[in-house]
Symmetry: C2
């Protein structure tokens, strides 16, 4: 017998651990919803790869999650969302939420001087997705887009406390130093993990925004509108699947969450 | 009709562009041998992934090359060689050459004080493969093994001329500074691309060795011993296959070779 939609899970995927920063916000906003998270750690990172490859990986990851009987799909990876959201919305018969539109909404609501920087992977920046979504919401805005190719390896390798992490952040952000931006969009779900380094480099007066909170609000709205919410007394249970070593992922996830997690499984993908 | 073995190609694979440093040496040593190179750019890097995943990728890459009718297989990737060479030798019915043993031979022939450092990916260092091969050849040697997780992303992203590249190299090598090593094994085929940065950091008196030359000598010896050499008048033609975008690979390869290359194709792997 098919599971009732109301106790199905939210499905989320990322190339690795970055999407956990979105998952945290969804857990806070929707504490009684269960989440199935997939991290594609055997193929991470996505950000320097072609859009064809990213679309293929996104479809494979989504099929994996759909087989776990999810009721909504969250693309918790900016690179995948910018390359594949249209395709995933076309293919699959459940609501699909990306992180680009919620992020753009947030950035536009925060800026006071209409000068916004977007940091992202090469692929996300090259796609122009943030620029388009921000301009659509705030005509006349000036957007400064910066690709930060080493940020994801830095986070995935757990090396953000090494002194060279500061040097990497400093050099990547140098072109922004005299542009007068008041808001920086962290256009990759890994980047909130580098938040304090970026804030120190850019100064305390600059607002750093990520997609997590607005993405969680969007998920909540869809579940409410489509009557897909879990019952109030439902006890959330989260499951994690990864395409590479579960132990390494668990260690990184516990560092990010600051508490133990359970149920990390090795996944076998349809390819 | 099956091709004559004598005009078959040498097959080589790496996770990305690093194996091209081995290919250069093979081209110099065996100018009339054709080479088929496979770069697994859709799944790069390998160095932080589990040995199970690396073995699986290595088998898939090898099957791809075997279908191109190769006469010898070169694992031009230390991470793959340390994890998978035994398996590949067991499975496939052609000679398989890795880069670890040739590299260890070279390092042992170069050191004068029997204090050797090995730089490699997390996976290569964790495997202990270099340590074992060096100790087997030089009892009493002192081996210092250092994992350098950011070196491959630095090379693959083409960022070796950024000032932070120097900071990354400096910090990774700091534990070696007072160990009195006279020889450093570049235990990843990407690292020769960082040679000048490493040399500047460690000083001109330190010998940096890589597997390229000795690996090429080993390939030459096998082809000679097994009567697999191409005829002297055979004009070598090299082909490149990659699992992600051919254009990006071509650009990187031309930077490494310092000259144009042709025949870069998108590959579809058996999985």
């Amino acid at each position: 017998m098919a599971a009732e939609k109301s106790v199905q899970s939210i499905g989320m995927f990322d190339s690795g651990i970055g999407g956990l920063t979105v998952m945290q916000k969804v857990m806070q906003a929707l504490p009684n919803e269960s989440i199935v998270y997939f991290g594609d750690t055997a193929r991470v990172p996505y950000g320097g790869k072609s859009s064809e490859t990213i679309v293929r990986y996104s479809i494979e990851n989504s099929i994996f999650l759909l087989e776990k009987n999810i009721k909504i799909l969250v693309i918790a990876c900016n690179t995948a969302a910018s390359a594949a959201i249209v395709k995933l919305c076309t293919i699959f018969n459940i609501p699909v939420v990306g992180v680009i539109e919620p992020g753009a909404e947030k950035a536009v609501s925060v800026t006071r001087n209409a000068r916004i920087a977007v940091l992202g992977t090469r692929s996300t920046i090259h796609s122009g997705a943030y620029q388009r979504e921000i301009e659509k919401r705030l005509p006349g805005v000036k957007v400064f887009s910066i690709a930060c190719p080493l940020f994801v390896p830095l986070v995935e390798e757990g090396m953000i406390h090494q002194p060279f992490a500061r040097a990497i952040v400093k050099e990547h952000l140098a072109p922004l130093k005299h542009q007068g931006v008041d808001t920086i969009m962290l256009g990759c779900t890994h980047y909130p993990i580098l938040k304090s380094l970026i804030q120190e480099e850019m100064g305390p007066e600059i607002a750093l925004v990520d997609s997590g909170t607005t993405c969680a609000e969007k998920v909540a709205a869809i579940l409410r509108d489509q009557a897909l919410e879990s019952p109030k007394d439902h006890v959330a249970e989260h499951r994690y699947f990864v395409s590479d070593d579960p132990a390494k992922f668990r260690e990184s996830a516990e560092r990010i969450f600051g508490q133990p997690i359970s149920h990390v499984h090795a996944a076998t993908l349809w390819t």
